[in-house]
Amino acid sequence: MTNILAFSETRLGELRRAGLETVTAARQVADATGGQVHAVLAGAPGVAQHAARLAAHGADVVLVLEHEAFANYNPEALAATLAARLGSGYRAAFFAASALGHDLVARVAAKMRLAYASDVTEFVFQGDTVAVAHPGYTNKIVQRFTLKATPALLSLRAGAVLPMESPKAGAVEAIASAIDPTAVRVKVTLTEKAAGGKIDLGEAPVIIAGGRGLKEAANFKLVEDLAAAFGNAAVGATRAVTDDGWRPHSDQIGQTGRLVSPDLYVACGISGAIQHLAGMRTSKTIVAINKDKEAPIFKAADYGIVGDVLDVLPVLTEAVKQAKAGA
């Protein structure tokens, strides 16, 4: 029972970065403990085209579940299929700590009556157990658990393991749904990209976030311009801003919004309330622009500029454009 399963998330036919992170994590474990990495790809016919990338990231076998009924997320059929597969003997299974991953791992765990660890930031396989770090208390406390059950089920926080190439055979094996995927109780009738954000917050290496200091919704244009100058940036917001309807709820970062960990987080006109920090304090580099030098965001930031965002942002955008052009 040394094989490791990695669920590779896709959406609307596209492979998500999270789907490579789970394969990379599984590869790390398999390299240390022996055994193979089995990646699972599910979707509408055609989804198998991503098998090569999973192989490049370390999948020995790619289990492909292709069926029209998986064009949208099909939670019940997928959970039944994975639970059946895992029941046949695996050491562990990695899911992404994403909206889909959290829904799916909980269903699989419930079917198997197994505890699982969600949103894991560290994991160590030791003999029959897995020690994990799982953030709690709005990320103010690290909870360390030992999972004793086999398979150990984990959802992996975005960025906890970065996708890494490690080419393996990636033999494609078609698998069937464990239940009739059209005769399910829970049906996803539509999946649609949210208006606005082009790059997903969870996947973006750079996030430019705006708060009430931007004064009005129209000024988010300045935030979007800076994001565009970086090219690989997504736009985030505080709850003050999403509450006022300046930005969609899906852009909210913090305790009750998205938890993000980009390489660079630029906080524009954000006070740095504890609930906001809860969602972004693990970012690698944090920049704050705020006119109040006492704003708590400066305590969390690596670099701060005291000043009016409306003045600073256009200049910063130009400077970033030049830096990118020169690079």
């Binding site: 959406r11 949208n72 939670p75 959290h102 269903r107 765990a109 419930a110 079917k111 009556r113 505890a115 660890a117 969600s118 949103d119 709690g136 208390y137 709005t138 103010k140 406390i141 909870q143 360390r144 658990f145 829970v186 049906k187 009738t189 999946t191 649609e192 990209k193 949210a194 997903d200 917050l201 969870g202 996947e203 290496p205 750079v206 997504a234 709820h249 899906s250 305790q255 009750t256 919004g257 660079l264 504890i274 693990t282 704050a288 400066f298 305590k299 969390a300 690596d302 670099y303 701060g304 500029i305 005291v306 000043g307 003045d311 600073v312 200049v315 910063l316 400077a319 830096a323 690079a327």
Partner: protein
């Protein structure tokens, strides 16, 4: 309005249950207790977990809109959870059940087993949980409850519509959303954005005193995993202010390039 309702009234009374966890206020600074596996509770304020507050609000709004129906709030824990249940009653829930258990438990399956035992024969049309408890952040209880009850689950919903025996919900994804439906009875777990928990009115607080609050022993399931240790995350080094206004931009760009290497 995120919550819309078109339950055909008449022949049935809708029965709703909300699972509520009592958690410390997240505003403060936490200290780890000497045991190393819990937090130091001294001086902490407690309230219902944020998402459970939204769930209670959703359930109460459903009965208000219908002008009928009953909301039962359920919490597992020591007697102090009665205070949290009373708050839900003062918001407008109709009855409360404390499943008494004195020791803290962080095991989602054990918790869900006790909740399911209570919910099983209650004839509930819809059971609402929070998307996650803000302390443990396990995110598992709702799914375990649904599985143990054998009913469908829709998790982390941001909009809800109950129409002719069908739950229609919206789930927020990373940079996208999906619409999901399933038949009643069902379990849903509530995300943010759907409804903000109301502050109890004085009238509500008075009314709550007369509402039924039943206490029963919790029939917890076996503990499948345990907490080894709690730690405070490593502190970030204090940042520095590099300058004022737009004149500081060149220095910022230099630091992002040379020091942070993110540009």
């Amino acid at each position: 309005m995120y919550l819309s309702l078109a339950l055909s009234l008449g022949d049935f009374t809708v029965k709703l249950a909300v699972c509520i966890k009592r958690v410390p206020d997240m505003e403060g600074r936490f200290k780890i207790a000497p045991s190393g596996t819990g937090i130091d509770e001294a001086g902490l304020k407690y309230d219902m977990s944020d998402f459970d507050g939204y769930a209670a609000e959703v359930a109460i709004q459903i009965t208000e809109k219908l002008g009928a129906g009953e909301v039962t709030v359920i919490s597992i824990g020591p007697d102090v959870v009665q205070e949290t249940l009373r708050k839900a009653l003062s918001m407008g829930a109709h009855r409360a059940v404390q499943l008494k258990h004195d020791a803290p438990v962080s095991d989602g399956l054990a918790i869900a087993t006790a909740l399911a035992a209570e919910l099983k024969d209650g004839g509930y049309d819809l059971v609402l949980c929070g998307r996650m408890a803000v302390d443990t952040q396990n995110r598992s209880t709702g799914a375990f409850v649904a599985e143990l009850l054998g009913v469908p689950l829709i998790s982390a919903i941001s909009q809800l519509n109950v129409e002719g025996g069908v739950v229609k919900a919206r789930r927020e994804l990373e940079g996208a959303y999906e619409l999901v439906e399933c038949p009643l009875p069902a379990v849903v777990t509530i995300d943010e954005g759907i409804a903000r928990a109301r502050y109890p009115s004085l009238k509500g607080i008075m009314a709550a005193k007369k509402k039924p609050l039943e206490v029963k022993p919790a029939q917890l399931g076996a503990i499948t995993y345990s907490l080894d240790k709690m730690e405070l995350p490593a502190e970030r080094a204090a940042g520095r202010i590099i300058g004022e206004g737009k004149d500081a931009v060149p220095e910022l760009v230099r630091l992002l390039k040379e020091e942070a290497k993110v540009l």
